[in-house]
Every structure is written in structure tokens, then in C-alpha cells.
């Protein structure tokens, strides 16, 4: 794997104020993300992994330190640049899918694909996700696994460089979860998208090229996985 650095976190921190309480969600963190890798961020809840993901996705800015996209310092970018970044470079997959309830599966995908210049055809991506029969259903008519597949299709249709997944299997049963992970691995393999998966499920780590372990807002360990296994064969 060519080790091109796609994104670089340099001493990034993030502090929140919730009511009167100050929470240090991310302590000084530095991390490189390589182009084309599958990176799994592991950690218990409250370890700062989602915060890290949000910062990578341009949904949130660090309170201190820097985030570089290739050479560009995103932490200095304005709202407009961040919107453009999210629009063109990033695909998100959420734990609770976050589909628009008023739109059908196909329309949910089109909602994202309409934003970029060279999207993948919505119907094609949905088909890839095995949803050819469910395209015109509304989210309320879909099962959780189907909704998550729509959500992946929505992210993938933009053909993003970076696919960020926040607990993508968290709300799903074992079988469906594995199916979803397989789809993510396939996007990584077929299109070369960098896939970052945040999870507390250590089993998922075995499909990654690298595993980042976090605890209390800090990275405690980065593990190189020389032999990633396909999601169908992992177990948890």
C-alpha cells in the first residue's frame, strides 16, 4: 500500500462546554491517515473517537492544533470551505442512519449525489447495496439494515475520497452488521476510498489495515494489521 498521507492531525484538541461543565473530548492528538486504507478507531464510549471522526469530516473544528487535508490547513478554513470539503470529499455513515424521513431511498441518495459533479448513479449504487427492490420505499418502510445500506449508498454515491462511519453496525444485529462491513470493505477495495470506522466493537478491528485505540480523549495505541481479514470471516 502506497503510503500517501491524505489527512494529518497535528496536536488537535477539542473542548466542549455542556451547560456549565467543560468536557475535554479530545486531548492533544496527532495522527496520519493514509490514502486508501481502512482505519478502525476503537474505544469505549466517551473516549473521544466520535469527536475525532467529526473533526476529520469537517463537521467540527478542533479547539487547538491543526488538521491538514493533504497540504491544506482545514482548521483555519471558514464555514464555506468546510461545506465544500464535506460536499466533495467526504461521505458519512451514521449509527442511526439519519435518513430524511420525507424522502424515498432513491431520493435520499440523490439528495447527496446531486451535490457533486461526477456522482455514481443512485440506482446503481443502491443495486450494489442489494436494494434494487426497495428504492422507492420510505425509510419508515425499511428495516434497520436496509436503512443503513441506503445510508452507505448515500455516502458512496458521491464517490468520496474519505468515507467516515460512526458505529455503522451499532444499531444492527450480528448478520446485518457483517453485511454492512462487507459493503464498506468493498467500496474501499473497488473504488479506493479511504474508510474510517469508529466503533467500540474490537472484533471489527481485524478487517482494518490499521487500528487506533483510544481512551479518555487520547490515542493509546496504533496497531498495524499486516493481515486484514474480510468481514465475512470476522467474529465478535
Amino acid at each position: 500500500m502506497a503510503e500517501n498521507i491524505l489527512m494529518k492531525l497535528d496536536g488537535a484538541t477539542r473542548t466542549y462546554t455542556m451547560g456549565d461543565v467543560k468536557v475535554e473530548a479530545l486531548r492533544e492528538t496527532s495522527l496520519d491517515i493514509y490514502s486508501g486504507e481502512i482505519l478502525v478507531i476503537l474505544g469505549p464510549s466517551g473516549s473521544g473517537k466520535s469527536t475525532l471522526l467529526n473533526i476529520m469530516g469537517g463537521m467540527d473544528l478542533p479547539s487547538g492544533g491543526h488538521v491538514f487535508l493533504e497540504r491544506e490547513d482545514l482548521s483555519a478554513a471558514g464555514e464555506e470551505r468546510l461545506t465544500r470539503y464535506r460536499r466533495n470529499e467526504v461521505g458519512f455513515v451514521f449509527q442511526f442512519y439519519n435518513l430524511m424521513p420525507d424522502l424515498t431511498a432513491r431520493e435520499n441518495v440523490e439528495l447527496a449525489s446531486g451535490l457533486v459533479e461526477n456522482p455514481l448513479p443512485a440506482a446503481g449504487v443502491l443495486k450494489e447495496m442489494g436494494l434494487e427492490d426497495r428504492m422507492d420505499h420510505f425509510p419508515s418502510q425499511l428495516s434497520g439494515g436496509e436503512q443503513q445500506r441506503v445510508s452507505i449508498a448515500r455516502a458512496a454515491a458521491k464517490n468520496p475520497r474519505l468515507l467516515l462511519c460512526d458505529e455503522p453496525t451499532g444499531a444492527l444485529d450480528y448478520q446485518t452488521g457483517k453485511l454492512i462491513l462487507g459493503l464498506l470493505a468493498r467500496i474501499n477495495r473497488d473504488r479506493g476510498s479511504t474508510v474510517v470506522i469508529v466503533t467500540h466493537n474490537t472484533g471489527i478491528g481485524s478487517m482494518a489495515h490499521r487500528i487506533v485505540r483510544m481512551r479518555s480523549g487520547s490515542i493509546v495505541e496504533i496497531i498495524q494489521n499486516k493481515t486484514p481479514v474480510s468481514p465475512e470471516r470476522i467474529d465478535w
Binding site: 455542556m18 451547560g19 466520535s50 469527536t51 467529526n54 469530516g57 463537521m59 467540527d60 464555514e79 464555506e80 461545506t83 465544500r84 470539503y85 464535506r86 460536499r87 466533495n88 467526504v90 458519512f92 451514521f94 442511526f96 439519519n98 430524511m100 420525507d102 424522502l103 431520493e107 440523490e110 439528495l111 447527496a112 446531486g114 451535490l115 457533486v116 448515500r154 458521491k158 460512526d166
Partner: protein
């Protein structure tokens, strides 16, 4: 189609109840704006054009009689652009079956050229000076002709110089001074059966009235740039030797004053009413969108995460309010056009205007659209500005719990302790959502205020009728004679079988002078012991007619700045015999709802004219069973110029009231729609916001009824306060309305019966209750498991 647009359409569909409610309020606002503005434009344009084309006079001068040549002299005055001399006189008309009516005869040059107050022919042809086969050709106003079943070639008989003179009808016409045919300001409503306009040539009029080469009126147009009053005083000076009876500017000309009053009222309403409706619609949308955006925080976060900019999301939500405006605008324009044609139809009924007055005014459509879309767009933009602040990462985290805290009521422990927990919840919710609380309060207040304002006219008119026809007027008939008679001649009338009581009246037109100012008035001499006419002061307290001194009319007193105890001088303006002057002391100030008139004892009235026991008319109280017989007897008598019958006046009134009932109904409907929309929207919002909380209550064991009762309590808190505030607001709004439509000649008393307050309250409670029921239908469908499913 753009996916976001699709999404918006689906959102509209899913919130269609609320969407329609807001649309309805916008629709009402635009309907009112369109119909009133268009009616105003049309009526005003029609009036202006009519006035311009027919040279409507700026000033009127009535004299006893003057040689025709004096007109040239008036015209040569600087500042007088055109002057026209003519004869105008009210004459009795004898109709079929000897029934009486009054005609205002006006004379015109043949052919007409640049005269002031020209005739506009409506049908038939103009009269000629010397028609073939002799006779007198005349035009009448359209309404008089149709009310009396007259067609061209028919004969109309007037009584002139004690003789019946036949007039041949050859057409119908109108003139700027005849847009509404009413005898005088004391007439409440036009009655074309008993009063009409007859137009004929100068020559014929002079002959019939035995005024060869004479005129009794000069009307002028003032040249631009000249002071009207200065010019008028010059004219008065010229006319001085001929007995100045009255002079007044256009603004006091009766039909103009009525028309202008209507226009002013329309204009005021067309400004005021749409602002209320659109303002309320904007407020509802503001709250609705604000709430929608709060509720869709996550969705907005996701859209941002996907890469949508704040701007495009704001536009998306603004689209929602623009859509309500657009829809309201379209429907309002359609309904407004319909209402305009109804209003125009009504005006065509009332006013004698030649042009069609019911066309669509594109300017109003343009302004109306701009107004509603502008309000929609700015509301949307303001309401959705919160989108900018939503941070995509934050939106994924659960909202921090709402700021709790005590409300001010909790400081009064003795009250608070007595409330059960559902009341505590309702009170806290109501007071925490101050914006929504204020909105509902305002909306309900205005709706109820509008109900009061819509219903009041019924009360006022009922009050005026009761006061005028039953309290102040004890007589069933007022008979006026062609010329004053000696009092003993009344015996002929008082002896008619069925006449229970007859009292003389002596009416003298006068000019009252005080402190260098003067004002025309009608002096009415009555028996001091009169029981058929009640005179009251401005508080409705009865006044005793003194032997000496005048109970001056409130309007005259106000114009002159005179008060009780002040000495005034009256100058008679009878038009026959010498003009007399006499000093009178003001013994009191009387106020009448309709018309004016100052009262003296009949002996004093005679004294002013240096006469004895003369009367000009008689008031009769008649046994109700014999109305018909008495009327027949009166019709047979000569020397009677007019007979006013209470019964017929009332019937005429009722006929004219029908149009009013419709407009009241429409207004009531509009007010209810607005109130419903507000309460409904607020209830839907509070319901959807609290689904989880309400479902929890259901889980705890509350029944559906108890849960909706909880919402009802919150609703009632704000709504009842709104109803309570709406009643006094309604009174204020009514006051404003009355002052907008009052003219020099007419004022309406502000009378609101308790029944109106009661009905408005009932109307308010009704729309609140219905809106609540519709809004909380969802309580039954609350899915307890789904709502309580833990998402975090």
C-alpha cells in the same frame, strides 16, 4: 425535480393541516386586501371620472330668487371658473292611488354645454325645450323610475302652485350631485319610492314654478389656485340682495359626503385589516418554522454533513413559508375578485354611477402578491436564521435538557400548593414558551376583537332604530304641508277616525349666528307639552322644551363654539316673505342620532316670524288598526306635500340591511378562520413537541382524555386571556372604525350590546375548542413503544 424541492413538498404534505391553516389566514388577508383595495380604486376612479366629465360643482349657493343675469356677474368674479344658475326645488309628487312622494326638481339649459353639474344620460333621451305636441319632458333617476314602475312616455304628476302638473318621462339620468338620492341628512337610507330626482329644462321649470327669468341656485367651479372660501364670500356678496339662504362647499354636499364617507371607510379598512391578517399569518409561520427547525436539528445537521450550505438550507425552509404565501395569494386573488364583484354590485345598487365599477385592478393584484410573498419570504428568512447556528457535529448529540426553573407563579406558594400536578405542568409550559404564548394571546385577542367589530353594526343600527323610530319619535306619521297653515285647520286631520293624537310642528330653516360664526340649521317649533317627540341631551337624558329659549343641536353648538346660556341670533331662510332675525338664549343642547335640528316652543317659532298659530306640519299618533284608512284619507287631502310613515321607513330600512348582514357574516367567518388557524397551529406544535412527554403520561396510566385535557388546559390559559382582552380591544377597534367612517353629516353612536360581547366570547370559545379537538386527534394514535424507544 430538485430533491430538496421534493422534500419540501413532502414536508408540506405531512404538515398539511398547519400549512392549510396558515394559507387560510393569508388567503383571508389577501382577499380582504384585494377586494377592499380594488373596490376603493374602482369606486374612486369611477367617482373621479364622473365628477370630472360632468363638471361637479365646488360650491353651492341657494337664494330665494334671483334674475338669471346674475350668473354672468358671478362668472366675471376672479376665481370663478364656471358658474351655472338653475332652479332646484322639492315638490310633492302625486302617484297612482294618490300616494305622495317628493321630487327634487332641477333645471338645466337645453342644450347643455359647459355647465356645472351636467346630466349624464343613462337611458332614453334628453328632454326638449318645446316638445312636439306640447307638455313637459323630464328625466328621472333610474331608481325612482324603477321603484315606481315608470317607463318612457309615462306621466308623472307634481303639485306646483296648487295645481297638478303632468310631466312626461323620456329617459333616466344622473349627475355628480345625485350619486345617492337622499332628501337630506336626516334621511337614514335612500328610499326611491318616496324620493326621486326630476330633471327638466330651465324654461319649463320657470314656467311650472312661476319663476319667469329667475333662478334660485348658483353653483360654481373654482379656478385652480384660488382660495375657495374667499371666492365664495365674493359670490355671497353678489347674491346678498337676493336672499342668501344657504351656501356650502362640495364637502357638505349630501351625496358627495355619503360617497366620500364610504370611500374613506373602505380605504381605512383596506389598510388596516390586511395588516392584521398578514401580520398574524407571519407570526404563526415564524413560530411554526422556528419550531420546525428546532425539531429538525438533526436533519439539518445531516444536510450540512452531506455538504449543503446554510444558505441552501435556509432557502429550503423559507420555501415553505413562501409556498403558503403563494397559495394564499392565488386563492386570495380569486376570492378577492369574487368579493370585489359582490361589493361592486352592492355599490351599483346604492350609488347612481354611470360606469361599470367592477373590474380587476392589476395594481392591486401586483401589490397584493408583492405584499404576501414579501411577508412570506421575510418571515421564512427570519424564522430559519437559526439554521446557521446548527453545528453538524453538535446536532448528532442529544439536545442539552431544556433550561428548567421556576415560573413567577411559584412564588405565591399558597396558590401553587393548591394546584394539582397537571395544572403545574400546564402553567410551566405556557409560561416557558413565551413567544408562542404571546402569539396565541395576540391572535385570539384580535380574532375576538374582530368579532366584536363585525357584530357591533347590528347593535348600533338596532339602537338607532329604537332610539329614532320608537323612543324619540312618538308619532306614526309626520305630515308636512305645502305652505304653513293656521293651527285650527289641523282639526280636519285630528278628527280623522283612528288618529289618537295630533300635535303641530313648525319647521323653519334658519342660519344661527354666534360670535361672528354662523351655521345653517332647522328650527323646529313644538308644543312645550309635546308627547310625540322626545328631546334628549348627549347622555340620553330627556330635555324639557322651554317657553323661551332654544334647545340647540349639538352639531350647531359645536360648530359655533356656543354653550348653554349663550345668546345666539337666528336668521330665517324660508324663501318666502321677508327674512327675520331674532335673538334666542340657549336653554340646552340636544343631540339626535340622525339629522339635526334645534327646538323651540311653537309660540316662539311664530314669534320669530312675527306670526301667530302657524304650523308647517303635524305629527300623528294613530291606532295601529287604522293605518291604512288614515293613509288613504291623508292621500286625498291637497295642501299636503309629504307624509312620512314610520312603518314604511322601517320597511325600507330592513330592505337596505340585507347587504349589511352578508358583510357581517363574511367578517365573522374571517375572524373565526384566523382564530382557528392560530390556536390549531399552536396546539399542533405543542403536541408534536411533547409527544414523548405525553406518551410517558399514557404509560403512567393517564387516559387519552386526561392527556388531551392537559393540552386543553394550556390552551385555555392563553385563549381565555385572549378572549378577555379581545372584548375591550374590539370596542377600541370599533371606535377607530367609526371615526374613520364619520363625516360632517353622519356619525354613528358607539353602541355595543352585552349580547355582542357574549356572542363574541362564544365565537372565540368555539374556534378555540374546535381547533383544539382537531389538533389533538393524534393523542389516540400515540405509539407508546415507538415514542419511548431510546435513541441515544
Amino acid at each position: 425535480m430538485n430533491v430538496l424541492v421534493k422534500k419540501m413538498l413532502r414536508t408540506i404534505w405531512n404538515t398539511r393541516g398547519q400549512f392549510l391553516a396558515v394559507t387560510a389566514v393569508v388567503t383571508v388577508g389577501i382577499t380582504v386586501y384585494m377586494s377592499m383595495t380594488t373596490s376603493y380604486f374602482n369606486l374612486n376612479a369611477s367617482k373621479d371620472r364622473f365628477y370630472r366629465e360632468n363638471n361637479f360643482a365646488d360650491y353651492y349657493f341657494h337664494v330665494v330668487r334671483a334674475p338669471q343675469q346674475v350668473v354672468k356677474q358671478v362668472e366675471s368674479l376672479p376665481g370663478v371658473a364656471v358658474a351655472t344658475g338653475r332652479i332646484q326645488k322639492d315638490m310633492p309628487v302625486v302617484k297612482e292611488g294618490d300616494q305622495r312622494a317628493t321630487a327634487r326638481i332641477t333645471s338645466y339649459a337645453v342644450p347643455m354645454e359647459g355647465e356645472v353639474n351636467r346630466i349624464q344620460l343613462m337611458s332614453g333621451r334628453f328632454f326638449e325645450n318645446n316638445p312636439q305636441g306640447g307638455g313637459v319632458e323630464v328625466l328621472t333617476d333610474l331608481k325612482f323610475a324603477s321603484a315606481n314602475g315608470l317607463s318612457f312616455g309615462d306621466l308623472v304628476y307634481i303639485v306646483a302652485d296648487g295645481r297638478k302638473a303632468p310631466l312626461t318621462l323620456v329617459g333616466t339620468g344622473t349627475s355628480p350631485e345625485f350619486t345617492i338620492a337622499m332628501k337630506d341628512a336626516a334621511t337614514l337610507m335612500p328610499d326611491p319610492r318616496t324620493f326621486g330626482l326630476i330633471m327638466m329644462s330651465h324654461q319649463q321649470a320657470q314656467q311650472i314654478m312661476n319663476l319667469p327669468g329667475q333662478i334660485n341656485q348658483v353653483i360654481i367651479k373654482v379656478a385652480p389656485g384660488f382660495n375657495e372660501e374667499l371666492v365664495a364670500s365674493g359670490v355671497k356678496h353678489i347674491l346678498e340682495p337676493y336672499g342668501n339662504l344657504a351656501s356650502y362647499p362640495r364637502s357638505k354636499q349630501l351625496s358627495h359626503a355619503v360617497l366620500q364617507g364610504e370611500l374613506d371607510g373602505l380605504k381605512a379598512s383596506s389598510r388596516f385589516m390586511p395588516v392584521i391578517f398578514l401580520g398574524i399569518a407571519a407570526a404563526i409561520q415564524m413560530v411554526m418554522l422556528g419550531r420546525m427547525i428546532k425539531g429538525k436539528r438533526l436533519e439539518i445537521g445531516v444536510l450540512k454533513a452531506l455538504g449543503y450550505s446554510s444558505r441552501s438550507i435556509i432557502l429550503h425552509y423559507t420555501g415553505y413559508s413562501v409556498a403558503t404565501s403563494l397559495m394564499g395569494c392565488i386563492m386570495g386573488t380569486i376570492l378577492g375578485a369574487g368579493l370585489t364583484s359582490a361589493i361592486s354590485g352592492m355599490y351599483a345598487e346604492i350609488f347612481n354611477l354611470p360606469q361599470a365599477i367592477g373590474s380587476i385592478n392589476y395594481q392591486a393584484v401586483l401589490y397584493g402578491s408583492a405584499l404576501s410573498l414579501g411577508v412570506g419570504a421575510s418571515t421564512g428568512l427570519i424564522a430559519s436564521r437559526g439554521v446557521v447556528k446548527i453545528n453538524p457535529a453538535d446536532s448528532m448529540r442529544p439536545n442539552p435538557p431544556k433550561k428548567g426553573g421556576r415560573i413567577f407563579l411559584e412564588r405565591w406558594e399558597w396558590i401553587w400548593k393548591r394546584l394539582d400536578s397537571t395544572w403545574k405542568m400546564s402553567l410551566r409550559t405556557a409560561f416557558r414558551n413565551r413567544g408562542r404564548f404571546t402569539l396565541v394571546l395576540l391572535g385570539v385577542t384580535f380574532s375576538v376583537g374582530m368579532l366584536v367589530m363585525s357584530l357591533f353594526s347590528n347593535d348600533t343600527i338596532d339602537y338607532m332604530i329604537k332610539k329614532q323610530f320608537f323612543e324619540n319619535q312618538g308619532y306614526d306619521y309626520l305630515v308636512r304641508f305645502s305652505a304653513p297653515l293656521k293651527e285650527h285647520e289641523l282639526l280636519n286631520i285630528s278628527r280623522i277616525e283612528g288618529v289618537l293624537r295630533a300635535e303641530p310642528i313648525f319647521e323653519i330653516p334658519v342660519r344661527v349666528h354666534y360670535n361672528g360664526k354662523s351655521q345653517e340649521d332647522s328650527l323646529q317649533g313644538l308644543n312645550v307639552t309635546t308627547t310625540l317627540k322626545k328631546i334628549t341631551d348627549k347622555n340620553g337624558r330627556p330635555l324639557q322644551l322651554p317657553e323661551e329659549g332654544v334647545l340647540i343641536s349639538e352639531r350647531t353648538a359645536a360648530k359655533l363654539g356656543a354653550r348653554e346660556g349663550d345668546p345666539v341670533e337666528v336668521e330665517t331662510l324660508l324663501g318666502t316673505g321677508p327674512s327675520r332675525r331674532a335673538a334666542l338664549k340657549i336653554a340646552g343642547v340636544n343631540q339626535q342620532l340622525v339629522g339635526g335640528g334645534s327646538f323651540v316652543s311653537i309660540d316662539q317659532a311664530n314669534g320669530i316670524l312675527q306670526e301667530r298659530s302657524l304650523v308647517s306640519g303635524v305629527m300623528l299618533k294613530v291606532d295601529p288598526g287604522t293605518f291604512h284608512v288614515v293613509e288613504k284619507k291623508l292621500d286625498d287631502m291637497t295642501a299636503i306635500s309629504s307624509v312620512l310613515s314610520r312603518q314604511k321607513e322601517l320597511a325600507n330600512f330592513d330592505k337596505n340591511l340585507e347587504a349589511m348582514i352578508y358583510s357581517i357574516l363574511i367578517m365573522v367567518m374571517f375572524a373565526m378562520v384566523m382564530g382557528f388557524a392560530i390556536v390549531y397551529n399552536s396546539s399542533v406544535i405543542s403536541f408534536s413537541e411533547r409527544k414523548r412527554e405525553l406518551a410517558s403520561l399514557r404509560v403512567l396510566g393517564f387516559t387519552n382524555r386526561e392527556v388531551s385535557g392537559l393540552l386543553m388546559k394550556e390552551n385555555m390559559l392563553q385563549s381565555l386571556l385572549g378572549v378577555a382582552l379581545g372584548l375591550p380591544l374590539g370596542r377600541l377597534m370599533t371606535q377607530g372604525y367609526i371615526s374613520a367612517v364619520s363625516t360632517d353629516l353622519f356619525t354613528m353612536p358607539l353602541v355595543i350590546y352585552p349580547q355582542t360581547y357574549f356572542l363574541s366570547t362564544a365565537g372565540g370559545l368555539l374556534f378555540i375548542w374546535v381547533a383544539h379537538l382537531v389538533a389533538v386527534r393524534g393523542v389516540k394514535k400515540l405509539d407508546l413503544v415507538d415514542v419511548l424507544k431510546n435513541r441515544d
